[in-house]
Every structure is written in structure tokens, then in C-alpha cells.
Symmetry: C2
Subunit: 254 residues, 2 copies
């Protein structure tokens, strides 16, 4: 046990959008070596139980508690994987772990802490629809738990002015039922065109659905907690065909 | 052979930043099923030769020719993987293939064309440094082959005004030796602070190097063609420790 105590580590791993074929071998190897897995319930349940692995399920919105728990276990010698969906560095657990370290025990700074990237939702959604992020783009978290609504609206206006394609994470939740409608109103006022908007729900899972509508017709109730929204730039285009159209943004503005 | 002829497809696949442990099982499966692999020389050379697989190496900057070649082969029954580094939907081959389809043969629209996501450079660089993309961010391609320098500078100013962390792709090349210096000057004028800038070179490969400097000290010659640059937002922070510091952007602005 002494060797194990000195070898504690924390890996903050991204499980990708849902399909196990999108989990990197690096993440699978970390999970195979772990003694403990920590995360929000639905992500922890994606990890198969096995002897020697303790699965710690936690509620949403307790990211800092979860991070401190992981760090405390690692200091005591555990090999801990903190699981996020998508990529852990994009609106997920990696920043929470570093926040906990910065404010926490000095011993935590000496830990082996690694971030293992994953396929974040906007890349998976983009791939399923075509290539809407083929030119400059931005990613904005619509959750206003962590920032004022006025800042979100200001960023949306500037992003439209810059003519980015815009990926909207956490577009809607039970506690913020009208946030996406407000965001779409801001974008309609700033854009005044019919650029396509992609609603990509539960991408790469059996519940996947994709919907593309022109910005004037986009409504907040087209999204739920499992939806990633991509608002095209002024140049994002549809290629019509017999099946679902492909959505893409050309590389060149010429 | 008749069955094979009817079963042609194109998969546009992301190989990730370099480490084979970051290639998704989905991409590995597509490569195992392929008859042809097409891409820029260094990416095609990452694919091991095997019987039944033809590897087509092409130069850089011939993306549309490469896309048309892939589509023509697939119409004739080949199972073609177009390889990009990183994610194919981010400043890579996916948009080029859809551009070729839109302008090309009607038969191409009936093809089975799939985009297989990968770990794009900014996610890999962010993971190696900590979590600098933990809050809202944008991605800007500094190559001015495909857009005017004035548009790049305008987007940089608006991105700074929105207080995004900013990932800069293709920051420097032999044909544009001063593009990154110009971009850094624009950001210094817009930001007027000492936020950290990450130069992440050849991430996850044996040649990997990371350098973090304050924005006033950032210079174009700190990057080359294999570098991804992340300019922090106003809130991006360093956690000092015995080893290399961790770089992260808190989730909350409160």
C-alpha cells in the first residue's frame, strides 16, 4: 500500500458526446488504471463497474465539492478519474479542479494532475451536420449561474459583429426556460438575416436528433438540456440533397 | 466487386494532435475498413501501410483537388478516408469536401459522406497547460490565404472586447512571417494588460514544448507552423507550483 500512497493522481477525463467509439484510448487507459471515478451521475454510470474501482456519483452543480473530493482522495494515494462528458476543459470539470487547487491545500499543487481531452459537444454536433465550424467561431455558455445575463448578451452581440459561427452550450434548463429565447432575440437583432441554426440533441446516442431552421424561425423550445446549438455565420450554407441537407461554413470569405 | 462499387463512401477523419492514444476508435475502425487514404503528406504517413490500402499523399494547399479526388474515388466504389490532423471540421478538410460537393458532380450529393471528429489542437493544448478554455472562447485562423488581414484584425479586436480566451490556429508560416506579430499588436492595443499567452508546440508528440508569457512579452517568433497559441481572457490565471505552472480560466466571472 505504501507505493500506492505515493502514486496518487487525478486525471480529468472527457468521455465525449456519448458514443463509446468516441472515447479516446488515453481515457480508456486511465479508467482501467483508476481506483476511483468521480462525476455527475449520468457520466459515472457510463463507466462499467469492476473489482477495485469505486464509483462516486454526485449531483450536478457541486463541481467544487467534487473537485475537492477527488484531490483529497489522490493525496491519500488514490488514482482518481474525474469524468466529464465532452471535453473536460470546455465548460466542464477541469476549470473546477484548478479552482479548487488554487484555493485549497498546498499539498494539492504537488499532485500529478492531468487533463485528458475529449470530443466536445460542438465538434460532435458539427460533424453530424457537416462542417458549420469550418471558419472562425466561438463558444458561449448560456448558463447564467456563473455570469450575468447582461454579459452573455454583450458577448452574443460582439460575436455576431465579428461574424463568428456561434456554438451555444447549456442553451436551456428548467431553471432558465427563457434564456435561449433571449439569446436568439439578441442574435436576430444583430444579424437580420436567415442564416441557419442547428439544434443538435443527444448527438451520437440512440436519442440523437438534428434540426436546422433559419434564424428568424428558431425558438428556445427547440432545445433542451441535451441540446447543443450552433448559429451559423453570415456565410454558413446548406447543401440540399435527397437526405438531410449538409450544413457547412466555407473556409474562405473570398 | 459489384457490391464494393455500390458501397463507396467518404469519411473525413480527425487524427488528433499526434499521439495515437488520442485517435478515436471510430476513426481507427474507418481506417481499418478503407481502401484509400487521402491527405497532406505528414498525416497520411501516420497511417500504417497494409495490403488493400492505397495511400494518396498530397501537398498542402490543394485541399479542393484532394476533396474532388476523394469524391471521385468513392463514386467509383472506393471506401475513402480523408485524413486531417486535429478535428476535420476545424480549419481542416471537412469544409473543403463540402465546398467540392456543392460545386461538383450531382452524383456526389448521393454519396455516404461522414465527418469523424477528432481532438482539435486547441483542446489538446488547453489540456496540456490546464484549462485556459474553461470559460467562453473563440477560435481564429490567422492564415490570410483565405481571408483579408483587415478581417482578421477586426475579429481579434471584437474577440478582445468580448473578453473571450482566443485560440489562434496557423499563427505563423514562412509565407506570412509577421502575421502573428501583427495579431499580438492588435491584442496588446485592445487589452492593455499582462494576461498570459500560451505557445503550445507539437502537443502530445515527442517534440512537444509549452511556453507561457505575459501578453506584453509575446513575440511572433515564439511560434512556428506546429504551434497553437491561446491568448487568455482578462480572467485567465496561473497557479504557481514546483513544476510548470497550471494555466486556467475560472468558470465564473463572479
Amino acid at each position: 500500500m505504501t507505493a500506492a500512497v505515493s502514486a496518487g493522481w487525478v486525471a480529468i477525463a472527457g468521455l465525449g458526446p456519448g458514443d463509446e467509439a468516441l472515447v479516446t484510448p488515453e481515457v480508456s487507459a486511465a479508467l482501467a488504471a483508476a481506483t476511483d471515478v468521480i462525476g455527475y451521475v449520468p457520466y459515472v454510470r457510463r463507466i462499467a463497474p469492476r473489482a477495485g474501482l469505486i464509483r462516486h456519483e454526485s449531483d450536478n452543480r457541486v463541481e467544487l465539492d467534487r473537485a475537492r473530493h477527488a484531490l483529497s482522495l489522490a493525496v491519500a494515494g488514490a488514482r482518481v478519474v474525474v469524468v466529464s462528458s465532452g471535453d473536460p476543459g470546455v465548460f466542464a470539470m477541469a476549470a473546477a479542479v484548478f479552482e479548487a487547487i488554487e484555493a485549497g491545500e498546498p499539498s494539492w499543487r504537488a499532485l500529478d494532475v492531468r487533463v485528458l481531452p475529449g470530443i466536445t459537444a460542438m465538434l460532435a454536433a458539427s460533424a453530424r451536420a457537416g462542417a458549420p465550424l469550418g471558419h472562425d467561431f466561438c463558444a458561449i455558455n448560456l448558463s447564467d449561474n456563473l455570469k450575468p445575463a447582461a454579459l452573455i448578451e454583450r458577448r452574443l452581440r460582439l460575436a455576431a459583429e465579428a461574424d463568428f459561427a456561434i456554438a451555444l452550450y447549456n442553451p436551456r434548463s428548467a431553471s432558465r426556460p427563457d434564456g435561449l429565447d433571449r439569446a436568439l432575440d439578441v442574435l436576430r437583432a444583430a444579424c437580420a438575416d436567415s442564416r441557419p441554426v442547428l439544434f443538435a440533441r443527444a448527438v451520437t446516442t440512440p436519442a440523437e436528433s438534428l434540426q436546422i431552421v433559419p434564424l428568424p424561425e428558431a425558438r428556445g423550445d427547440m432545445a433542451d438540456m441535451r441540446t447543443l446549438v450552433i448559429v451559423g455565420s453570415s456565410r454558413t450554407r446548406l447543401i440540399e440533397r435527397a437526405g438531410a441537407p449538409w450544413l457547412y461554413t466555407p473556409r474562405s470569405i473570398a
